[in-house]
């Protein structure tokens, strides 16, 4: 087994960048902060590719099976000889795959931001936060200990909080960042309890050990965790469900998704990085990481499946009605993550039945590229028209040819049109669903059609719809508010075009990666093939949906409004995001605040604080009484001294004889 120690540098470089830029960036390095961040990440990216090449093609495979390699291990907190929190780095197919995804998407975002964020006052801070985020995500991926996962998980939460609230003078951004933080934090509570349950029964926090213990049916740990039950479900189900709750929070699964659309308040490249390609897949990655354990428990897997499928459908319906382009993309992300989740849920561990697992990881891989491309494309558009609303756009295809082509490619990819990347991964998911669960297959198929519809609704609304000159006019009107220097830029500088071109190439190309040979649930290669007969239905549905979208939105007409009014209540409900936010507000404001929060606050103020205040006041009063003794006069002290001696003498002589 060769040495993978250099992997350590992949997360460490962004960390160093974060520290340097965070401490000295604004004062000394504001000019070169972007280049510095990008250069350090470029090194990380190259190292990731080197690691991927070494692992996948040189020495990761032993007898046709990909091995788990622990590149580095350090016992950090030892509670007892058996239970310790270690810091380690694990290398296996999914972690290497994620390394490549995270570093390359992050690199693209870094490069894109050089143009997009140019002239921002807190430019260096922005790059510091980006580096922190990349570091946390890379750490999360490589963690070999579930507690270590949890730490990086929280770091990811913090850095996303910082990035969403980057425009901290915008109240909506502040509210969005708080919402994201609180909602994911609430989910993380479940994650923590899940970790504690698994750790308690498993007797270890090491992921490899946990998997080994819980997957052998005869081990003492497995017998004890399945034997214990709470509210009618075994502790294994509870532990895994709570673990999944944490994952669902980060991955914006229904009903913990409410933070994701609001998180679009952050700068658009950040949305591309966090809310499309990396952070939100952390939940999928967590389930995949613990998948052998999940596969031992039918109930937990069913929860994963149905939550995933429900989110996929739910988000796709909402995405059809939104008018803010970043919100459409956010809901589409949620929908695609739902795809990955249910693909994991229907999968079995190992062999042919592990298709769902492989498909889920494949979709994660391809989705990262085309979704970040979509976001960066949207970023270019927003950079140009200075608005997120569809009604301010239209007819941009002549003004932004490169963005137009890139966006079209990404839309085709997400719609699952061959030969673009999304087609391959989506086919695998649909095939797996078809074999395992017909209801899920139906939902998936319908969602796929909806996906094509709303993506092309977006595409036509941005790039066609109106006439070009009108947009040009709007552009000039809008142009003078902040980015004065870049007004006549067309699509922005080359640093903004280059990532689009590279990612567009990826969105076309990554579907041809022989993924099933590389990343599978048990490390063995899986034979897959695209069944042409099977592909007809989803592709035909997608094409129909695209034609429908073209009919509605390619030219300005009122067909879409008619259909919207025909759906009536459903349309309004979807437009209002099915009132989930309102339900949350109702629960928090009307139930939790008055009935739980306020009594607790009262108790805190009056009982807990009251007791402490009483102590303090009593002490103060007593000291007020006796401070006269400290007169500063030596002779008084002498009198006390002799008085004390006299009293003691009397005591000793006459009382304690």
């Amino acid at each position: 087994m060769s040495n993978y120690f250099y992997i350590l540098w992949i997360p460490l470089l962004p960390l160093i960048t974060f520290v340097v830029l965070g401490l000295f960036g604004r004062k000394y390095l504001s000019g070169i902060a972007g280049l510095l961040g990008t250069a350090s990440l470029l090194t990380s990216t190259i190292l990731s590719f080197v690691a991927a090449k070494q692992y996948f093609f040189i020495d990761g495979k032993v007898n046709g099976v990909f091995q788990k390699i622990e590149a580095f291990k350090y016992t950090w907190l030892e509670f007892s000889p058996n239970v310790s929190i270690d810091l380690g780095m694990i290398i296996d197919p999914i972690s290497v795959m994620m390394l490549v995804v995270v570093t390359s998407v992050s690199l693209m975002v870094h490069v894109f931001s050089l143009g997009y964020m140019k002239g921002e006052e807190r430019f260096a801070t922005y790059y510091a936060f980006l580096s922190l985020f990349t570091f946390s995500m890379l750490g999360l991926i490589l963690s070999s200990n579930i507690f270590q996962v949890y730490m990086f998980w929280e770091l990811v939460g913090v850095s996303s909080f910082l990035l969403i609230s980057y425009y901290f003078n915008k109240p909506s951004a502040v509210a969005a960042s708080k919402k994201a933080f609180i909602v994911t934090r609430f989910a993380d509570l479940g994650f923590l309890i899940g970790i504690l349950i698994l750790g308690f029964y498993g007797g270890t926090l090491d992921i490899g050990e946990l998997i080994a213990r819980f997957t052998s049916v005869n081990s003492a740990q497995y017998i004890s965790i399945t034997g214990a039950s709470f509210l009618g479900a075994s502790m294994l189900t509870w532990g895994l469900t709570l673990l999944f709750m944490g994952g669902a929070g980060k991955s914006a699964m229904f009903p913990l998704h409410i933070w994701l659309p609001d998180a679009m308040e952050g700068p658009t490249p950040v949305s591309a990085l966090i809310h499309a390609a990396t952070m939100v897949v952390a939940g999928v990655y967590l389930v995949a990481r613990m998948f052998p354990v999940f596969s031992m428990d039918e109930a937990a897997l069913n929860i994963v499946t149905y939550v995933g499928a429900a989110s996929a459908l739910f988000a796709a319906v909402i995405a059809c009605t939104q008018t803010d382009i970043k919100r459409v993309l956010a809901y589409s992300t949620m929908s695609q993550i739902g795809y990955m989740m249910f693909a994991l849920g229907i999968s079995k561990n190992g062999g042919e039945n592990g298709l769902g697992y492989m498909a889920s990881m494949f979709h994660l891989f391809t989705h990262a590229f085309f979704k970040s491309l979509l976001f960066l494309g949207a970023g270019s558009v927003i950079h140009m028209v200075h608005s997120n609303e569809m009604k301010d756009m239209g007819g941009l295809r002549k003004l932004m040819p490169i963005t137009h082509i890139a966006f079209l490619i990404a839309c085709l990819a997400i719609a699952g049109i061959p030969p673009f990347a999304g087609f391959f991964s989506k086919e695998e998911i649909l095939t797996a669903a078809f074999h395992e669960n017909k209801i899920i297959y139906g939902i998936a198929l319908f969602t796929a059609a909806l996906t094509s519809f709303y993506m092309f609704r977006l595409y036509f609304n941005i790039f066609w719809s109106k006439e070009t000159p009108a947009t040009n006019h709007a552009h000039i009107e809008h142009g003078h508010d902040n980015h004065d220097a870049h007004n006549n830029h067309g699509e922005g500088p080359w640093v903004m075009k280059l990532p689009l071109i590279i990612l567009a190439a990826c969105a076309v190309g990554v579907g041809f990666v022989p993924f099933s040979q590389l990343v599978t649930s048990d490390g063995k290669a899986l034979e897959t093939h695209i069944d042409v007969m099977f592909s007809i239905a989803p592709v035909a549905l997608s094409v129909l949906a695209i034609l429908l979208a073209a009919n509605f939105y390619k030219n300005q007409n009122d067909k879409s409004d008619k259909v919207a009014s025909a759906f009536g209540g459903l349309y309004t409900a979807a437009y209002k995001k099915f009132y989930v936010d309102e339900v949350y507000l109702f629960i928090t404001k009307k139930i939790i605040f008055p009935f739980i929060g306020q009594p607790i606050a009262w108790a805190d103020r009056n009982i807990v604080d009251g007791f402490m205040l009483l102590l303090a006041k009593t002490t103060a009063k007593i000291s007020e009484l006796i401070k006269g003794f400290q007169s500063g006069k030596v002779q008084n002290y002498a009198i006390y001294f002799f008085g004390g001696v006299a009293v003691l003498s009397i005591l000793i002589i006459y009382i304690w004889k």
Binding site: K627, Q630, S631, G632, K633, V634, Q635, A638, I639, F642
Partner: protein, 104 residues
Amino acid sequence: MQEIPLTQLLFVSTFLFFIGMYGLFTRRNLITMLMSIELMLNSVNINFVAFNKYLFPNNLDGLFFTLFIITIAAAEAAVAIAIIINLYRSHNSIDVEDATEMKY
């Protein structure tokens, strides 16, 4: 020659001790207070010597104690006078009433 009874010696030493104590409490001049403390020390010395002579004539423990106390009293007087001189330098007075900063 008739021996002086122990009680009389103890009476003298008690008398000296309370004179010293009275001086310590009433005088405001630090030098006088120091002298009062010396008086108290000497009364203790008398006690030691007297008890040694009357109760344990064959031992010398009390005498040794007395010698030690005299030595230490000399050292203590030196330290005390050094403190007093410093106090005088900073306060221009050696009256204890003028040095009452160290209170609450």
